[in-house]
Symmetry: C2
């Protein structure tokens, strides 16, 4: 690069990647570069769909932008994103149950309780707007009003998400002027989708985005999502944010049901360290532009397929978050079968991936069936307690337990399996069967390493 080229790049960064025309350059490396690995894509469950380009712009009817408003304490990365639906889109959300929930969470819950559609979602990183009291609520309201004005849509059609430092007000002096710029720059492109997916990240090591297309009722339906998670900024929790856009035509009631179940089977089944953030949010839009006959029942073939597809996208994103857990050397996937029902199976699977002892053992390449079985056994009250003598347990291809007792397995080979999956930051699979029931469930987590402690202990005020 010539010195003149460097100067131009530096100018662009200083101006938040807006070039002279007022147009954001979504290819600006300073703002929008984040190491990318197709993790969400690689971890997407298989099904009757195919992966496509475009992230949250893959579905018809949505435009997106990312921008650097200057909210972050350091670095050149973009820090805010906007998703706009061309027309009213059916919208459903799931939010943190944390009592200390952030102002934007309270705001979204109120909005979505009032009406089943939305037009725009503004996301900022760097300040979480949590533990900010009445002033935080007023700040959220102010950004929504500014966005309403600059987009020309009603304020009740606006949604908000924040992630970052808690206990700090959003830097409104930076965010407010950015809102009209974001509004003027939304577009439907892979570059814009990637820019948005990068802008919402905090300390994520990779950006997380995936899109698929699936044939529903003879029409091609697209859906794409982006997520951030595992980033830890003092003194914030590892907030998870997820956004999915879809162009299926579906009634609000069905979409709400499907979103709720897809979220329960994905984002609610991952754990990095068991802490539930003040800001966790998942919002799913459906524009209805795919031209399919409107889906009016969750039990119809079309409703079921839509739910499968949304669950797959959410799982791809959620698994990518667990994979990117702080200090992780592998993703842990626990598959539970034979439980009385799916909910029991999920509770057991979650207990296993949350066990510090099991996570530390996997990090240490120790095929420690005892810790895994114990975590299955102390799972939060399940409706139907299983019989300990029915428990079977495998680690990858190695069966370690049968009938509730350890087998005489090849410990060296089982340890080698863990060395291999952690060596490539792969997936460690734990299969547990607890009986003859039809209940199945999955959960995902990551191992517990020295780096987890380092990352979370070595920030000193």
């Amino acid at each position: 690069m010539t010195s003149r080229g460097r100067a131009r790049a530096s100018d662009r960064r200083a101006r938040g990647a807006v070039v002279a025309s007022g147009k954001i350059d979504f290819t600006d490396a300073g703002c929008f570069e984040l190491p990318y690995a197709p993790v969400a894509e690689a971890l997407l469950p298989e099904g009757p769909w195919k992966v496509v380009e475009g992230g949250v712009c893959a579905a018809k009817g949505f435009k997106v932008a990312g921008y650097k408003a200057g909210l972050r304490a350091k670095g050149t990365r973009a820090d805010c994103a906007l998703i706009v639906a061309d027309e009213d889109a059916t919208c459903a959300g799931i939010f943190t149950t944390n009592i200390m929930c952030a102002a934007p969470v309270t705001y979204c819950k109120k909005q979505l309780a009032g009406k089943p559609t939305a037009r725009a979602l503004l996301i900022n990183a760097a300040q979480a707007n949590a533990a900010t009291g009445d002033q935080g609520a007023a700040d959220a309201q102010a950004t929504a009003e500014e966005l309403s004005k600059s987009l020309g849509v009603a304020e009740e059609d606006i949604l908000l998400m924040s992630t970052g430092v808690i206990g700090k007000r959003i830097k409104l002096d930076k965010l407010m002027p950015a809102i009209p710029i974001l509004s003027a720059n939304v577009e439907s492109s892979t570059a814009a989708a990637n820019a948005a997916a990068t802008a919402i990240c905090t300390t994520d090591l990779v950006r997380k985005t995936v899109a698929i297309e699936v044939q529903i009722g003879g029409k091609t339906v697209c859906m794409g999502g982006m997520a951030k998670g595992s980033g830890m900024i003092h003194p914030n929790m590892a907030t998870m944010l997820g956004v999915v856009t879809c162009d299926a035509d579906v009634t609000p009631e069905v979409w709400r049901n499907i979103t709720s179940r897809a979220g329960a089977a994905s984002f609610n089944q991952i754990s990095v360290d068991g802490d539930t953030s003040t800001n966790d949010s998942l919002v799913c839009f459906a524009s209805g532009k795919a031209g399919n006959a409107k889906i009016t029942s969750v039990d119809s073939a079309e409703g079921k397929l839509l739910e499968q597809a949304l669950t797959a996208v959410c799982r791809g994103l959620a698994k990518a978050i667990a994979w990117d857990g702080e200090g992780a050397t592998c993703l842990i996937e626990c598959n539970v079968s034979g439980a009385a029902d799916d909910e029991d199976a999920r509770v057991i699977a979650r207990s296993v991936v949350c066990s510090s002892l099991a996570k530390a053992a996997i990090f240490g390449h120790d095929p420690n069936w005892g810790r895994l079985a114990c975590a299955a056994g102390y799972a939060a009250p399940v409706k139907n307690r299983f019989d300990q003598n029915d428990l079977k347990l495998s680690l990858g291809p190695h069966q370690l337990m049968d009938k509730g007792q350890p087998l005489d397995f090849d410990a060296v080979a089982a340890s080698r399996y863990l060395k291999e999956v952690t060596g490539v930051h792969g997936t460690c699979v734990v299969d547990i069967s607890v009986g003859n029931g039809s209940g199945r469930g999955q959960a995902w987590g990551c191992d517990l390493s020295y780096d987890y402690v380092k990352i979370n202990a070595e920030y000193t005020t």
Copy 2:
């Protein structure tokens, strides 16, 4: 020591500290030495009682022994203990809720469901007799029958506890011959109580024992306890065992109520890593030898005082277990007030001491109010959600939050507080108020250090 002296000491160790007469030498350092710090005593809550000598032998009516049967894979430490009541003692227990519970847990629950008294409790370390199937149940039964025979008491008066490696049968060839020796050697002495408290430890760094006397109804009532916890033997969990002996005269129903509540306010409020073992057990005996008028109501002044005293002993022991958590550099005590009721307060306190993020922050001397407040906010469903704007939070003498928002506190001084308490393996106090309710609760845990990961990851099969 002369070479002859060394030879004698070595002979004694080889024979499990039994000298020629068949008498166990409870002062044998090879068997019964464990670094002792008066942790349970130092951490005992204050009240109208005074600390006395004697551990589980302090109360009238109990005899104790510890012995080295040869159950451990290595080391010279004793590995089994026996507590015998001179006559039928009122007895109550609390046991793990883990579905994968060990054979001795199933055995004790059956025994105590059948009758409200017991005569003897046999405890072994080194093998947990968990994940051992029907054979494990048969092994437990065999040891109980042997003990019944050698003590001359009915088998339905026998209780059992085990801790150690799970998935392995108890070494019956070692334990069975030890049972008559233990039976023949029980005595009421501080040395025997200490020997027993040492014998039940696994990787505990200190033995945990405390005894108090308290005036109830004009009579001196003694109670003493011992506990083990935080020891981790592959692939076992950090099993907690607790035993309390008391000489109060009390009805079985009152004793059961009091034990249940004291356990809920102590052993159930500690967490080292959130894992609930297959073997956790607390058993409390009351011999009735103190000569007090029989306590027949939990609401009488005497009943209340007895409950306070038992709660104090259990808390002293439980806090000592948390203090001795793997890799811990401090005990964390969380005091919650202002909740709707005590149970809500306890749930919130437990959530805080279980938070990996908060534990890592304390290890790193980071006065991270955000992680503490967040953990309070996501506590498992409380009956009455508090208002986030009512939250107050202090770390030691430093108030960090008020009205749900951070204060402009002295971060350097607050960090120094954490440096000081971790520097001396002291107690880090977190005070949280969530409103104006009368509910109060406490929980105890420890910080999360590199050593925790090291201890739990670096065992490789």
